[in-house]
Amino acid sequence: VNLAEFFRWLRLRWRGLFQRRGHEQAMNDEMKFHLDMLIAENVAAGMAPEEARSAALREFGDTATYREECRDSWRPAFVTGLVGDFAHAGRLLRRSPAFTAVAVVTLALGIGVNAVVFSLVRDSVLRPLWRDRQLNLATLYNARVGTERSFRFFSHPEFLALQDATEVFAGVAAMGFQDAAIGPEDNLQRRLVAFVSADYFSLQAVRPAEGRFFTPEEARPGASVPVVVANHALWERLGRPANFVGSTLRIENRTYTVIGVTPPGFVGLHVGIGPEAWIPLGEAVHVAGVDLAKPAETRLTLFARLQPDLSIATAATRLEAADRRLNMVPPLDQLGARRLVLMAPAHGDLGNPSPEFSVPLGLFGGMSLALSCLVLLVACLNLANLLLARGVARQKEIAIRLSLGATRWRVVRGLLAEGLLLALLGGALSLALGQWSSDLLLKWANEAFAAGKFVLKITPFFDASLALVTLGFSVLATLAFSLWPALRVTRAELYPDLKQIAGGPVRAGRSRLLAWGDAPLLVQLGLSLALLFSAALFIRGAQNARRLDLGFRPAGLAAAQLDYRLAKVDPADVARRQRALVESTALPGVSAVALASHVPYNFDLPNRPVRAADGSAPAGTDPAKARFWSGDTRVTRGYLAAFGVTLLRGRDFTPEESEGSGGRRVAIIDETLARALFGDADPLGREVAIDNLGPQAGPMEVVGIVRSPRNDVWGSRPPRRIYRPLGQAPATSVFLHVQVPQPDAFLPTLRRHLQTVAPETPVLLLQPFADFVDKNINVLLVQMASALFGVFGGIALVLAAVGVFGVKAHAVAQRTREIGIRIALGARPGDVMAMLLKQGAVQAAIGVTLGVGLALAAGQALSAMLYRVNPTDFLALGASAGLLTTAVLIACWFPARRATKVDPLVAIRTE
């Protein structure tokens, strides 16, 4: 065969498959020409025109048949077969809409869950990991030699020294984060701002969407060039102003010129959350009060691009020279030599000096993906069950086809086509389902995070790659799970005698309690239990998070954050204004008003070293080291009561102490700090001190002991705390706490009130206090996980019930004759019911037994993600198993009831 012939063949095939209309036209023309010639001949032979025409048609033959035969010759045989298979499958599915609906919904749920989870994992795990690998990025940690702990951030001189370690690093960049008021003059909000070195963007290989990034000159400490790079999300939050680059923004008290905008979706080194704007390192002194020119100022997180030939593991073995550089930076640390630790970039944590704690994002992504695959597997097993049950019901039809000469392959192909059609329908539905649920998720996330301090990146999930993956899932699911039933029901030995089947055998064999055909059902039940148990663990986690003993009472409080630094107010006048604010806010309905410098669940509690003022220490501790880092909050009188903090002993601050108008310097500390400082001795009346406080330093008398409220979600216990009176230790940024019965309804009143009494002070935040807790990102994460896994478990439960119901319904239909005979021989309906339910119960028991192992394994794998839940929680396991068994028995009950209504005469006569 030469090339010309090959192309001719190709052209014909192409026309046959895709240019049918032209082909058809040519064929009709050709035949018409022939007929016309015949008619002309007949007319020439002397026939009348009508007669000539009918004679010609007789002579020509059956036109329609010839046309059809021509068409058949155009398309290759396999296409004809395929089209036929699908048409046949379509007809069969249309004939049993209930089966089709159940199968399609089952698959759609499985595939849809996978698609959504895949999209989340792709964005939050795969893409960042891929980027880090691609760019060879690593985060640097600063540890003390010889200790496992005591990590700290880097100073700017250390950053400079490490930039010279080119034997391992191709580039080093520095960043730090600060919570700052940012926005146009009239719309300041407290958001996260990052101060970064000039290499920060180039090391992450990101280009500005508009404008430019920082120059090394701008990023030098002390450069003091007020320029800012805005997050794309900030530009969107501000309503996408035109000419944004070149316009000005206010950050804290300074006016910045926008020089660039990052591309949409870029949030920095982290995943999902990031700062709203970036300023050069040199600006940190204005925004965060961090003067990086001071060698002792350690506030920087470093990350590096490694030299191309190094991996993190190999680079970690070549850090000697870099460590030497680090330790040559003056002033030398008195606490001992330091060393570098290299780790893959942490994606979930915005600034922690130690690598130990990082949100297990990769694990979360991996486990979600694994469990969602499990959901798909359950859905597929379910489909296999349904197809198998259906195939068994169609044995007679299949036997007839096989005996009429259809090859086994031909029949299997027909069954596969049915499966593939189901999968495609399921895939299409799952795309719709996924689109809908992701819209819902986006909407929910946007609402939940609207008041948050971070930029949250959730990209719209549905794109081409996802559609492709979905299609892949569909096809895989089909191949894997319709092939087995197809092969099984076409097995030759199932049809020893067609006649016997046509008469309908009494399937005594099927009444065994267990058969190999039940294996997929049992596996499905086992997997379902594992999914249900995982869901139960996460739901318990969310419950625990909700029931957490906070140590304070968020309900019934409205909170407003006011930052007097941002107001053009004389600093000396701030205290008076704050006092006036508290007095004037005693509006009708308000039962208490108080100020505090910080609030729990807001990621901003400053930690300070507290010691006993007389240098004493409890017995057995070294007085020189008896400094305890404690959360420091400055509050007014009445705050503790309004906030619901338990005063264990002693008293609240007096009005004089609270206002700073007189009295001794005092403090209230929590019980753990008291025990750490004074042991079992009475702390009341003793004096404590905080180092490095400048004018506020000096001994304070302990006047009260409280139970410390929690400060975050993850901590195993509340932090040590010290409360100081606001009057004695002024704070320019304060949270106004207003106790009212209905905080939500009170917010507009409070806003109007603040505009009247403090018009010059920007209100950075105004919300019910409960929002600090309910919309805390970690609380949301716990809730999100429980919602996600709850959906998995719910789907697994529904699928288990549907699967059992489908299989049992078919089994009962199959055993109609047998049941009829049993009833004819005297079995009562109750006996039949008991027989079928017993079978269901045995299957459930085996499935549950299989599942317990799987469930415990899943629990172990999930343990790092669980919130205060024992991964072998037997109550949750028992509840899951009970739920599953109940669902199985209910699903058995309906077909069983139908079986009891079998009329023996009818059942025996017909099938």
Partner: protein, 113 residues
């Protein structure tokens, strides 16, 4: 010789068409006419059945088709033998002649009285 019209044997139509086309490029009507003339009208053939056969042969690459103008001045589809078709014709002709010869010699056996 009998003038009784003979039904076509299965599979012979292809050979007839290929042979007819070996005399030149023809359209369907011509092919039908020539078969009728060459067989002295002894072969019965629904003329329309030519077309599925022509399309089949075209698909197998044995004949090729091209639109042209008939003697009557109408446009018609002309078929011609391809290289593969000529080879196929030789094969089929050889097979048919061999088959016919074998049949003839078997039928020529003496019959017992």
């Amino acid at each position: 010789m009998s003038t009784m019209r003979q039904e076509l044997l299965q599979g012979t139509l292809d050979l007839l068409i290929l042979k007819t086309l070996s005399t030149g490029n023809l359209h369907g009507w011509d092919i039908a006419k020539r078969i009728a003339v060459a067989s002295s009208d002894r072969l019965t053939l629904k003329q329309g059945s030519l077309y599925p056969a022509l399309h089949r042969l075209e698909n197998r690459g044995w004949i090729d088709a091209e639109w042209g103008v008939s003697e009557a001045g109408r446009s018609a589809k002309f078929y011609r033998l391809t290289r593969l078709g000529r080879k196929q014709l030789d094969d089929e002709k050889e097979y048919w002649l061999g088959f016919a010869a074998a049949m003839t010699s078997v039928l020529a056996m003496e019959e017992s009285p």
